[in-house]
Amino acid sequence: MSPPDPRLQLLNITKRYPSVVANSDVSLTVMPGEIHAILGENGAGKSTLMKIIYGAVKADEGEVMWNGRQVAVANPAQARKLGIGMVFQHFSLFETLTVVENIALVLDEPFDLAALAKRVTEVSERYGLPLDPFRLVHSLSVGERQRVEIVRCLLQDPKLLILDEPTSVLTPQAVLKLFETLRQLSAEGVSILYISHKLHEIQALCDSATIMRGGKVTGNAIPKDETPASLARLMIGRELPVCEAPLYTGDSRPVLEIAGLSQVSDDPFGTTLHDISLTVQAGEIVGIAGISGNGQAELLAALSGESTTARETVRLDGEAIGHLDAGRRRDRGLVFVPEERLGRGAVPALPLSRNALLTAHRQGMKRWGLVDYAKARAFAEQCIARFDVRCGGAGSAARSLSGGNLQKFIVGREIMLAPKLMIVAQPTWGVDVGAAAFLRQTLLDLSRTGVAILVVSEELEELFEISDRIAVLAAGRLSEAKPKADTDAESIGLQMSGLSNEKTPESGHAHP
């Protein structure tokens, strides 16, 4: 008996964009029922490759073979007809529609919501993905939204399922659950393309892996036969960098004190904060774990001063600052690095020297009430040199920098303000491994000089690497911050899901 035709075969795919070659001569083969990993860093070209398979992007060169026959996938609708389903990294769901309405929009069949709702329930139970078809999507947790996407694909009876960084928003428990579902699908003959940069997940789940770097395939491997170090070498070309956390020996005093902070969100899609209390000491890093949408944005706004609260609820170095706006909090030594680098951390179209001014104008960049551009430029150049920001100089526009380099610049800019307290949201989101390690080490070094740091992140591994204590924010409530040694990923994950995945209608934001 001859071996079956490969489910999907890519031959010498090349895709060029004006400034970059996203895919160069990429080939890979996926067999029926195989779980195949695409491993690579941000910017390695994984997402472009998947979009080519799904018909959302056209390749410049190369061939796509489907079940042994050459095909030209012109658009996503045609890909779905062939039996290719895709679960997107940034979900393609409509928040104001219900689950079943969202699914109906993708299916090519007569419009009958009641009948479809029944099938949704059937499929979701069969694969252990419980869903209420009539809930509005905006009231679902991120994990539930992902279920909607997966069920939506499954209803189309796919032969190949593509998942783009599916676990970046899931709790450790939800990841295990997802893996069970994927194994069940693979046992039924569905091929799975699993895109990730998380080595241990790929080792736990995938039968084979294609590793990409800089748009090229750098290797093929059987993940179970490799070590994380050998996979990392293929992925980033060297060993995984490790951060060092020296002991803090300076004085300990509370720098940030939050006491009984409650706040009703006026955004209908927002989360209400319930009685949040937390202290961050000088010289320590406190991490706040949790999935975005559980009050992260609201808490950060209340701390940075973008929204003000009762005077006594927030204290900086003993002074009540709850009622002060962001500028006056910054005057007192609080700095904030927001999650959105472009648009909030920096102005995309402005050069770095002017972006330095945004927060660093407090460093004597005014003369007679006018801006001293020479000083701003000198500040930016110093920041670029000290924090290894790779760019065309202080004159290059913020948007021309890669995510990692822009983040280095923004974090560096704030550090040069000699803060007492630094609040950072998602410090390494969308940043390559090298820059992420640099940023983490920078935060560690900063804290050991006596600065208090509060990090809000979705990446548990990151929090365990740099934090001294970790708390969990779920459904607007903050758990007690526990020393890192007294907790582990599993118990943190339970706290994340215990509150957030079983969102009750009372705590859901659709019912104010």
Binding site: A56, L93, L105, V106, P512
Partner: protein, 306 residues
Amino acid sequence: MIDHLIPILAGAIAAATPLIFAGLGELVSERTGVINLGVEGMMLTGAIAGFAAAATTGYGAAIGLPAGALAGAAIAMVFAFFALSLAANQAACGLALTIFGIGLSAFIGQHYVSYSLPGLQPVAIPLLADIPVLGPILFKHDMVVYLSFIAFALVAWTLAKTRLGLLLKAVGESPEAAHAIGYPVLGIRYGAVAFGGAMAGIAGAYLSTVYTPLWVQNMSAGRGWIAVALVVFATWKPARLMLGAYLFGGVTILQFHAQGLGIELPVQLLAALPYVATVVVLVLISRDRKLLQLNLPASLGKPFLP
């Protein structure tokens, strides 16, 4: 008392009819995320096209309304090309369209200033028209008024119950997601803008061939703007839009009666009353900010290029 109210209310229904057409069209367009501020211009274009067609052929509103719809849709495509295909600022394009429509209609209309048309006779609907009070208010109108009832029912049903309605709402909320799952976002938006133009054209043609069957420069008199405002204050819901339109129609007729009764108020003030009353009431209805935000098409006014 009732006897005095019946003609006022019946008049309100007729006066509201152009607002209903224009408002429903704009509502559909805004549901897909496109705000077209050119309603006034499209109405005037429809008004003169409808009037010219009716006057030239002699078939009256029967040819006037389709001609108005066609002209409204055609001029809306100019807006669509700039605002959708070239992703220009929608507010600026809409304003330009209004100014263009006012000028174009005045230019064409100078040949038609002295014409007048026969208008349309009211048709009493058998049985329904005999219902006391409601009958004469609702069911003794010209055919176009009934057409506006049908248009409302069709739009409301389509938006609430059909796949097309779902798709319109989906595109308005997240064109990126709609594109990602393979829908032609620009095509859908073009269609919605064309529908909005056609409906505004019908509204204009109703004014010029039925309501006051003659051409007067700038005869829509700000109704296009009221239609745009109605859509927002109605929080993009057809039923609320109807309510607002009838309110506007009611106060319009009321102030005519007030003028007739010789109430000691400047005419200009009375004439401004419908606009003020409509805005005030709708602001009160829509003061719930959460409701407004929940219903607001999230991509409204934002250009999208695939």
